[in-house]
C-alpha cells in the first residue's frame, strides 16, 4: 500500500490501482453524507479532481493520484456514504484506475512514512 500527502491510500492490483482515503482522513472529515464518484471510462491526469466527499462539516475533493483510466467505481458509496467512516481502507474504496506506468506510484509514501507524517 502507498500513501499520498492528500491522505489517499493506493493499492496496486496488477496494472490497476485501487484508491481510497485513510482512517486518519475519514476521522478528520467527520460523518460522510454524500460521495460523488467519477464516470467509468474517464481518462484522468494526476491531480484532477476525481471524487467529491461531503461530510457534516464541509466538501472535500479527492484527486486522481496517477494518470490513467477509471475502470470501476464503488457504487455502494452512493447509497451508503457512511461506509467511508466505517471501513475507509476496506469496503469504502472509491475507484480503480488502469495505469499505463506503474512507476508513478514510486514517489508516494510507505505506511511508515505516512504514519510519521500524520503523527
Amino acid at each position: 500500500m502507498k500513501y499520498t500527502e492528500d491522505h489517499e491510500w493506493l493499492r496496486a492490483e496488477g496494472d490497476i490501482v485501487v484508491v481510497g482515503i485513510t482512517e486518519h482522513a475519514a476521522e478528520q472529515l467527520g460523518d460522510v453524507v454524500f460521495v460523488e464518484l467519477p464516470e467509468v471510462e474517464t481518462q484522468v491526469t494526476k491531480g484532477d479532481d476525481a471524487v467529491v466527499i461531503e461530510s457534516v462539516k464541509a466538501a472535500s475533493d479527492i484527486v486522481a493520484p496517477v494518470d490513467g483510466e477509471i475502470v470501476e467505481v464503488n457504487d455502494d458509496l452512493a447509497d451508503n456514504p457512511g461506509l467511508v467512516n466505517e471501513d475507509p481502507t476496506g469496503k469504502a474504496w472509491f475507484f480503480k484506475i488502469k495505469v499505463a506506468d506503474m512507476s508513478q506510484l514510486d514517489e508516494y509514501m510507505s505506511e511508515d512514512e505516512y504514519q510519521d507524517m500524520i503523527s
Partner: protein, 374 residues
C-alpha cells in the same frame, strides 16, 4: 486568529477532559464536537438530552434608573420591533435589534424578571450590542453585562427529567417561561427555551458553580455534551436563523420571514413603529418585500451549502444562506433567499453545486416539527 487571543468559557477544561475538539468561534475556543461526532450528537439530542455550553453568548441586564421594569421595557422598545411592554413577568420572547434601513443588527432573547429585563445576545455581536444599548438607552437605563455566569443549554425530550432531578421547579415551567430556581445555595436563572427545535432549557449559573452544575447533569444517563457542529444542524432542521448567515444588516425581518416576531402592537395603534427602520419594515408589512427567506430541500444526497446560487431557468433568483445534512430528516436541507415570485412552497428551482445544476424545491420550515412544551 491565534488560539492564544481567544477567550475561554468557565467550562473550557471540562470540554478538554471530555474530548471536545476545540475550534475558534466568535472569539472563543469552543467544542465543535466530542468523540461521537456531529451525527450521533445530533441524534442523541433529539432522542435524549444534549448539553451545550453557550457561555460565549452575551447575557445583559437592562434596568431602568427609575426602578420600574415597565420603563426598561419602554426603553428597549425603541431599539426592537417587538412588544416588550406586553411581556409578562416570568416570560421570555424572541427579539431583533434593527437598524435605520430595516436591517437586523442581531437577534436576541428578552426575559422579563421582577425588576429588570435579561437579554441574551449572540457571541459575535455582544460587544456591538452592548455599545448600541449604551449609546441609545444610557440616559434612562443601566446596562450591565453579566460576566460572572456561565450559560448552559439542555435540550431534548429528556431535558425535563434530567434538570428537574436537580431543580424540581423546572418541570413546572412551560415554553418561554423565565424563572429563578435555587440550587446548591445559589440562584439559577432558568428559561424553558433553546435553539434546537426541542423542548429544553437554558440555565445561567454563577461561574464558581458552573463546572459542578454541568458535571451533575453530565453524570446522568440521559445527558451527553454536544458541540457546535450538531447545534448548527439541529437549529437548521428547526428552521431557525443563524445570525451572520441567514440574517444580517442587509436583510429585513419581513424578508427573513420573521413577521411572527413583530407583534401587532408594534404595527398598528399607539405603540406602532418607534423602532429603527420602522418605515422600511412596516412598509414591507403593507406592500411585501422583494425577496423572502425560504426552506429548500435538494433532491438527492448532495448538500447545498451557503453561497450556492439558485436559478429558475437562466435567471438567478437567489442564494443559499445555510445548508447541511439533516441527520433526523435523513436528507440534505438548506435555507436561503429567493425573489418573492419564487418563494411559494413547492416551487422547483435549481441550485448550482460545483458548476452543475441540481434540482431543489422550496419547502416549509421547520423541516422537522418542533417539540416545544407549550
Amino acid at each position: 486568529m491565534p488560539m492564544a487571543d481567544l477567550s475561554r468559557t468557565p467550562l473550557y477544561d471540562l470540554h478538554l477532559a471530555r474530548g471536545g475538539k476545540m475550534v475558534p468561534f466568535a472569539g472563543y475556543e469552543m467544542p465543535v464536537q466530542y468523540a461521537p461526532g456531529v451525527m450521533k450528537e445530533h441524534l442523541w439530542t433529539r432522542e435524549h438530552a444534549g448539553l451545550f455550553d453557550v457561555s460565549h453568548m452575551g447575557q445583559v441586564i437592562l434596568r431602568a434608573k427609575s426602578g420600574s421594569v415597565d420603563d426598561a421595557a419602554d426603553a428597549l422598545e425603541t431599539l426592537v420591533p417587538v412588544s416588550i411592554a406586553a411581556l409578562k413577568e416570568g416570560r421570555q420572547r424572541y427579539a431583533l435589534f434593527t437598524n435605520d434601513t430595516g436591517g437586523i443588527l442581531d437577534d436576541l432573547m428578552v426575559a422579563r424578571k421582577n425588576d429588570h429585563l435579561l437579554l441574551v445576545v449572540n457571541a459575535a455581536c455582544k460587544t456591538q450590542d452592548i455599545a448600541h444599548l449604551q449609546a441609545n438607552l444610557s440616559d434612562t437605563c443601566e446596562i450591565t453585562p453579566v460576566t460572572d455566569r456561565a450559560l448552559i443549554a439542555l435540550q431534548g425530550p429528556e431535558a425535563e427529567t434530567a434538570l428537574s432531578r436537580l431543580v424540581p421547579g423546572a418541570a413546572e415551567m412551560r415554553f418561554m417561561d423565565a424563572t429563578d430556581l435555587a440550587w446548591n445555595g445559589t440562584t439559577l436563572w432558568v428559561t424553558r427555551s433553546g435553539y434546537t427545535g426541542e423542548d429544553g432549557y437554558e440555565i445561567s449559573v454563577p461561574e464558581p458553580l458552573a463546572v459542578a452544575f454541568t458535571e451533575a447533569l453530565l453524570a446522568m444517563d440521559e445527558v451527553e455534551p454536544i458541540g457546535l457542529g450538531a447545534r448548527d444542524s439541529l437549529r437548521l432542521e428547526a428552521g431557525l436563523c443563524l445570525y451572520g448567515n441567514d440574517i444580517d444588516t442587509t436583510t429585513t425581518p419581513v424578508e427573513a420571514a420573521l413577521e411572527w416576531a413583530i407583534q401587532k402592537a408594534r404595527r398598528e395603534g399607539e405603540r406602532a413603529g418607534g423602532f429603527p427602520g420602522a418605515d422600511v419594515i412596516l412598509g414591507q408589512f403593507a406592500n411585501g418585500a422583494p425577496r423572502r427567506r425560504v426552506g429548500l430541500l435538494p433532491e438527492g444526497r448532495a448538500p447545498m451549502r451557503d453561497g450556492t446560487g439558485l436559478f429558475a431557468g437562466d435567471r438567478k433568483v437567489g442564494h443559499v444562506t445555510s445548508g447541511a445534512y439533516g441527520p433526523s430528516i435523513e436528507r440534505p436541507m438548506s435555507m436561503g433567499y429567493v425573489d418573492i415570485e419564487f418563494a411559494e412552497t413547492g416551487t422547483k428551482l435549481e441550485g448550482e453545486v460545483r458548476g452543475k445544476r441540481m434540482p431543489v424545491t422550496v419547502a416549509d420550515m421547520p423541516f422537522r416539527p418542533s417539540t416545544y412544551k407549550r
